[in-house]
Amino acid sequence: MSKKIGVFVCHCGTNISATVDVEKVAEEAKKNNPGVSYTTTYKYMCSDPGQKLLRDKIKEEGLDGVVVAACSPKMHEHTFRNAAKKAGMNPYHVEISNLREQCSWVHPDKPTGTEKSIDLVRMMTEKTRKDKSLNPIKVPVTKRALVIGGGIAGIQAALDIADAGHEVIMVEREASIGGHMAQLSETFPTLDCSQCIMTPKMVELAQNENIKLYTWSEIESVDGYLGNFDVKIRKKARSVDLDLCTGCSSCWQVCPSKKIKSEFDMKLGNRTAIYIPFPQAIPSKPVIDREHCLLFKDARKKNIPPNDSKVCRKCLDVCPIAPVKAIDYSQEDEFITEKIGAIIVATGFKELDDTSMYGEYGGGKYQDVITGLQFERLASASGPTEGEIQRPSDGKLPEIIVFIQCVGSRDPAKGCSYCSKTCCMYTAKHTMLYKHKVHDGHAYVFYIDIRCAGKDYEEFWLRAVEEEGATYLRGRVSRIYKKGDKLVVLGADTLTGSVVEIEADMVVLASAMKAQDDAEKFAQKLSIQYNKDKFFSEIHPKLKPVESSSAGIFLAGTCQGPKDIPETVAQAGAAASKVLALLSADELEREPVVAKVDRLPAPIFSTCIGCFYCKRVCPYGAIAEEDIKARDGSVIKTVARVNEGLCQGCGLCAATCRSKSVELAGFNDEQVYAEINSVEFN
């Protein structure tokens, strides 16, 4: 029996109808096509009345196949399949023709677009003819979440999930949680101290019984799928036993390597080789930096186990824990596997700290040209100067300070075209912090545009100008060079049409927020997408802002793109609520796009010949060998079987199978051939 197919062509307002003759498309869909029993066009198919139209017509016309010619299936395939389901139809008889992204938006010539649209609709009609009913696969859910990254995004998300009663595993690669927010001095637009609002949250996280924290740890691999991930975590050798150590501080006080540049202080301060990154670190237990530690250096040089080196064991000697010391030089990386239901990626950003690309600004050679985060550390009461704005070269108070916005942002020539979004605000903040500390100092800001579009943000930067007296000059700086102990800044003020030359004591670059160095590698580990700047991609920029392209993996914070703290916290909350929704069910429904090996009546049983090439290519180990047995228990043949729970539906097995015994539901050979055959060739 041939199917009765309905074709619904959407105008998408005028997005489609402006360059595609939708009426003609509908008309042609019916012409010479006996299977198509109903066609119509509608202004907005995705709207409520549009969906109702679809439901009504399925019932009235007795349709058992539907083609919606509209936008990309990535937008509304789900919408229309759901609508069909409500009308009592198996949703997998609904196919989407992508007229908007593939025709109307890219082919301005109406006849051309129309002709192609007619083709596209015919292809989907023919595919629909071959569609089979499919039923969603139910999978159990592991009620435990993984949060990767312990900055403000990760902390917020972890707390939200844990407070709702679910277990959370947090993995942080640094020795302490806190991220960049812990480094900031004060925060805009309220100027409240960052640590004052951050550290209580860190403590809360550490004390939450639902949260298991792995610091100094990284994600090794992620396997499995939505609801059932297997995550392998590498606990890097810390050389300190976290259970035994009390964080008494004796060890880092005696460590003789005191001149190691502190990462937390953006290299403006020093730390020891055994250290906690900052005083409020969580956990407040140290780690040995094996690259700089004298003992490990010596062991490497002599090629002996670290325990055999006797160069320096001051930290071990001083450790008061008895009888077994908390310091263990022989510790090695350890691997732990956790079962996880859903994942939040909150891996954050990296400040553009390598300014070597800015040769015109000295390329990093001037000590008194610093980055935004370095200024934060200078201004922070817990920073290397205890909050005094001293310039790095000689500790002098800068009387004239110049801020340059958009360094590494909005600069395609340097490979970074996007706006970092936070710098306008943090520069305004920096001028205020500076003026609060150096009362008779002068702050000059070179900017291109001021982008302060947040609540109370506009007022904040105006305060910097009107009350604090920062001078804003509209122009980008072309050059900085040293003259005596001054830095000459060559800029412009395009509003007056002038060149500006300022002899400054210190220059602060509002450096860009960049994706982490290993973002690409990390994304590949998780099979999530990223954009050209290596920020992770959400599925839909407006409607699915926290969902990654992999089901069950969500995004929070700056790993997805530059954003400030309020926005990060909001997004983290959103990601947490998505995770909670997932974990609230005992079972999840999965798309039934999975492979299947055929089964036939005896004496054939299956056309599978048991070569198991499919098993070799399957990336998920979803193919098992199954013995088909006679009544007496003897094995007649061994054939392949797909574990639906593990299969992700890539179709590799189907394409590899020599005897054509495997098919991928929703994309089987018949369906693909139907599409190919239906194209109108010359």
Binding site: G475, T494, G497
Partner: protein, 184 residues
């Protein structure tokens, strides 16, 4: 000088014309001013380099082509080198100068510069190479006000044997003539 911008300018095809001649797309410029900030001659100019680009963006043909700026550009290419949007600003100045000469609107205040170029090219046209002495004398003849300037340098050059009175003609003078004929 005040400029009034009307739809006449805004609708003009000046930017398109520039793009067709040179491939330079001024639309890309977002007016950050880095070109101006780094221009070594900006202080002498009547309009800043970024303003010249703005003139082209908005179709202000007269302002761009009659500016002194386009002649004062030293072609050091600092602007193009540092432009975040990779707009070839120095190269744009070349095009605008060319257009100004074609249309006969080159700013008379910078006659020294245009005359120098003329004298220079005349020498190339005539000999295939530069004869510094004759090029200089043509320039001084055409710009009598400059006659006394650097008066002490010439004799010194002569003394050091660095200024020759006899031009050196190349063999392929015909070929050079042909090039000049073709690209007038």
């Amino acid at each position: 000088m005040k400029i009034k911008i009307t739809t006449k300018e805004l609708k003009s095809d000046f930017a398109k014309e520039v793009k067709e001649r040179s491939g330079i797309d001024v639309k890309k410029c977002y007016q950050c001013g880095k070109c101006t900030a780094g221009c070594p001659v900006a202080y002498e100019m009547d309009y800043m380099p970024n303003q010249i680009i703005r003139f082209v963006q908005l179709g202000l043909r007269r302002e761009a082509l009659t500016s002194r700026t386009i002649w004062l550009c030293a072609s050091c290419i600092t602007c193009s080198t540092r432009c975040p949007k990779e707009v070839k600003i120095a190269e744009l100045m070349d095009v605008l100068r060319e257009m100004a000469l074609e249309e006969g609107v080159a700013n008379p205040m910078e006659k020294n510069i245009t005359t120098f170029h003329e004298a220079f090219l005349n020498s190339v046209k005539k000999h295939g190479r530069i004869s510094e002495f004759w090029m200089l004398s043509e320039y001084k003849r055409k710009r009598p006000k400059t006659a006394l300037q650097d008066i002490e340098i010439g004799p010194q050059l002569m003394l050091k044997g660095k200024l020759s009175l006899t031009p050196h003609d190349i063999k392929g003078k015909k070929s050079i003539k042909r090039i000049f004929e073709k690209f007038k």
